[in-house]
Symmetry: C2
Subunit: 498 residues, 2 copies
């Protein structure tokens, strides 16, 4: 179909802005992967000018006029194109309410807060972090206020990562999940069967990487438009037609490295599945972090920790790590892959208890932003919630309220998406198992194409046309429902731990 | 000293533009080192938007006003600051005469010409390259004309790479060099002694890299503000406080890899020696390619191929490559390091005959740009000059006029700087040997700090305050003089080849 000029003019400009944003994304990847230790200040200056130019380009009145012109002809557009105009309007209205002063203040404060957090955590000194945390909270609220969301700042902040999501919806979902999840965790913890991962030692980095690259390629990651490198913290960066995943290899925690990478591959496959022709517009963009996490977690957990997956990969794993796995039985390996245990640290947690860590953080940040607990009361509040949800009080603030980087980076509203991703992943999983009979037989043959095609068609190719709840409704016939995650966790874990 | 506001306002803006330029430089490095094969078009779009923004930023009338304001107070400035204003004016006056149309046409044409060159060279089909070459020549002349240099376009083009240099000066220098150099080449070629590099085989890449990293660090490259990676063609990229060198390792040409990298280290040391506090201004910038090449070539040749250097490094080299060097005597190794022989290919040439290759290219491109030979006559003219200077007619145009990438990339006026760099390197070398008694004893001990300090003080720290000829005059008491290069080549090579 031929699109009206006001629409194509807008998308041309959005594409241009997309390329500009992608340059910043590349610098972000480079900073984690390549930047020499002494070049950080230089890079900060490079980022600053890109940020300045990006602010200037995205707030141009000409862009506002293009959006208005496209809005004037929305009845000539199909729903996907209407979504492009809708998102352009949302982004534009938000950014034009900001000021260069605010953006600069926030960037400087975040940089200081990050370094203060690193030091305070090392010294286990919450007092040294307290003022920086307060400043980040205040900036988050200021951001919400500037953009016209002073009435519900936390909803606005969630929406930054998962558009359309609200604190109340998350509250409802988490309450339902919690009541069903806690008994499962208790059953596993009290089981006479317990996983042992300590026998997996001395997996050299080179051999881990060899195995991983085979897995990642087989899952469908396109190395002709992407890379896999090493960094301290694994992530999926880059953008557009240049997706850059990273991983790390710990010789005595090979499964952590492997599943961390399969997780990033899920993100990478989503990025590579976004329609190239719509780059820069909402149709070429992910929905948000909850859907992103649903992809990474499905590949990591539903697929990667499943029997069918390992039926195919175990022989190859044993070929590469023959001596390392010599005394490890298949059952012991599979149990290690699905190890569950309450850990004080979120990032070291299994997929069962992880959700409880997220509930704790969600409750904390919601109250902090809404002002119902003060920053001074935060450590005690954290510890009380930890006891309630996880059954223990952290031994220190370093391993409690200060364990995560997010708040020091101003990321309030981000945490829920991890758990929402788990909920959506399980919900999608049962729908697609229905629609793709014999899918797990494919996995046993090392075939993952039918799954990827389904995700491409049902999720990736839609870009940001539908928000999380609508997308779930559209694909699975209902909005997010925690029953599917509970079903999945029961089916996966209870047979192992009895 | 406190600097007047019109000056500091200008330098602040220049620094900002410098950071913007450094982003493009980083993308250029990434393209050679990391870019996935299928991401080239995506990268082209990223480059295009950066180029657009850079053009817009560097042609802002506010910048012109800042320069004019600084010019109004030049009598309050010291000569170094005056140089900053002078260069800002030159750059500004040049770029404002260009048009977005010209810049875009040139970028597109260069991209096409490069791909045409790759294909035509593979097919040894000059006819397929002819129109692209002509277009590149025309664009170079158009560039000179647009910027007001239609009377002497080739001088202008040389000046783009080596400010202040002219075709006449190069003519005079090359004529002098040629008459002294040809007999040296003949003496070496006809010597009964000939170097053999063919016995150096099977030097694994990892071992080569281990040795190289030790060498590069010892020469003074600061890895805290720089990197060394692999790429198909070695180069020194990045900028400012983030210098990114690349190299390649050929298992059967270990010396080529090693000296290529020491060469890039010379570029890297220059970049790292530019004063950080003047980043973005002429005082934080290199003089041009001739001085840059003087640095890379001095470290590669005067230092790296010398007896003193190898007195220190040979034991370590033999330690790492024990079996590979088992049957190679020290004398044979040193002769291989200083192998001389006429090669049809410039990039495979030794430092003696390399200069003849440059004279050939200089004569060709000067006449092409001045219109005294036509593009259709170019292959014959090349072959005639090759016979005159090198003693042979190339077996093909692929190994003759089409062997270099430069012209396909629009780089006319670049070639002379390679030879000018050789001339300046030797000239600086004898001056610094006088001023630093016992310097080569340092090298025998693995100490290169006195040399680097001298180069820092006398060359690097000056930025672009003085152009090549003035810099040579200032340091050595005379402008470029080929006698020193001739002396050096005689002293280094004739004792070996008799």
């Amino acid at each position: 179909m031929s699109l009206p000029p006001p629409y194509t003019q807008l998308t041309e400009e959005l594409r241009r802005l997309g390329y500009l944003g992608s340059v910043s994304a590349l610098l972000g990847w480079d900073e984690q992967v390549n930047l020499p230790s002494g070049s950080a200040e230089f890079r900060a200056q490079q980022n600053a000018i890109l940020s300045d130019l990006s602010f200037r380009e995205t707030t141009r009145s000409e862009l506002g006029e293009m959006i208005a012109a496209a809005e004037g002809i929305t009845d000539e557009l199909e729903p996907p194109q209407q979504a492009v105009v809708r998102e352009a309007r949302i982004d534009y209205d938000k950014v034009v309410k900001l000021t260069p002063d605010f953006i600069k203040r926030r960037a400087v404060a975040q940089s200081h807060a990050f370094h203060a957090w690193v030091k305070a955590r090392e010294a286990d000194d919450f007092g040294a972090f307290r003022d920086y945390l307060k400043e980040q909270m205040d900036l988050a609220v200021e951001y919400a206020t500037l953009t016209g969301h002073s009435d519900k700042p936390y909803d606005f902040l969630i929406g930054e990562f998962d558009p359309g999501m609200t604190g109340d919806t998350v509250d409802t979902l988490f309450a339902a999940l919690k009541s069903d999840l806690v008994p499962i965790v208790e059953e596993i913890i009290n089981s006479p069967v317990q996983a042992d991962t300590s026998m997996l030692k001395g997996f050299t980095q080179d051999k881990q990487e060899r195995f991983l690259r085979e897995v990642v390629a087989k899952l469908g990651f396109n190395f002709e438009e992407g890379r896999l490198d090493r960094s301290v913290h694994p992530f999926c960066g880059g953008s557009g037609q240049d997706t850059r995943m990273t991983t790390r290899f710990l010789e005595d925690l090979p499964l952590s490295s492997l599943f961390g990478s399969v997780h990033e591959t899920g993100h990478g496959l989503y990025e590579q599945g976004l329609p190239k022709e719509h780059f820069g517009t909402a149709l070429g963009e992910s929905v948000g972090m909850a859907v992103h996490e649903s992809q990474s977690r499905m590949w990591e957990n539903q697929v990667g920790r499943g029997r069918a997956f390992w039926k195919f990969w175990e022989p190859r794993y044993r070929e590469i790590f023959a001596s390392e796995l010599n005394h490890v039985s298949s059952d012991a390996l599979y149990l290690a892959i699905n190890a569950v245990g309450v850990s004080p640290i979120r990032v070291e947690s299994d997929e069962v208890t992880y959700n409880l860590h997220i509930m704790l953080r969600f409750a904390m940040e919601k109250q902090l932003i809404e002002g119902t607990i003060s920053v001074d009361d935060a450590p005690d509040a954290w510890n009380a919630l930890s006891e309630e949800l996880l059954g223990f009080v952290p031994q220190s603030n370093a391993n409690g309220i200060m364990q995560d980087v997010h708040w020091s980076a101003g990321l309030f509203g981000y945490f829920p998406s991890y758990c929402l991703g788990n909920i959506l992943a399980a919900q999608l999983w049962y729908t697609l198992l229905d629609q793709l009979p014999g899918l797990e037989n494919d996995f046993e043959q090392g075939e993952f194409g039918r799954l990827l095609d389904w995700l491409r068609t049902n999720v990736h190719h839609l870009g940001k046309q539908f928000y999380t709840q609508d997308l779930a409704q559209r694909i699975t016939g209902e909005p997010l429902n925690t029953d599917h995650l509970i079903r999945y966790l029961r089916e996966r874990y209870l047979p192992l731990y009895t």
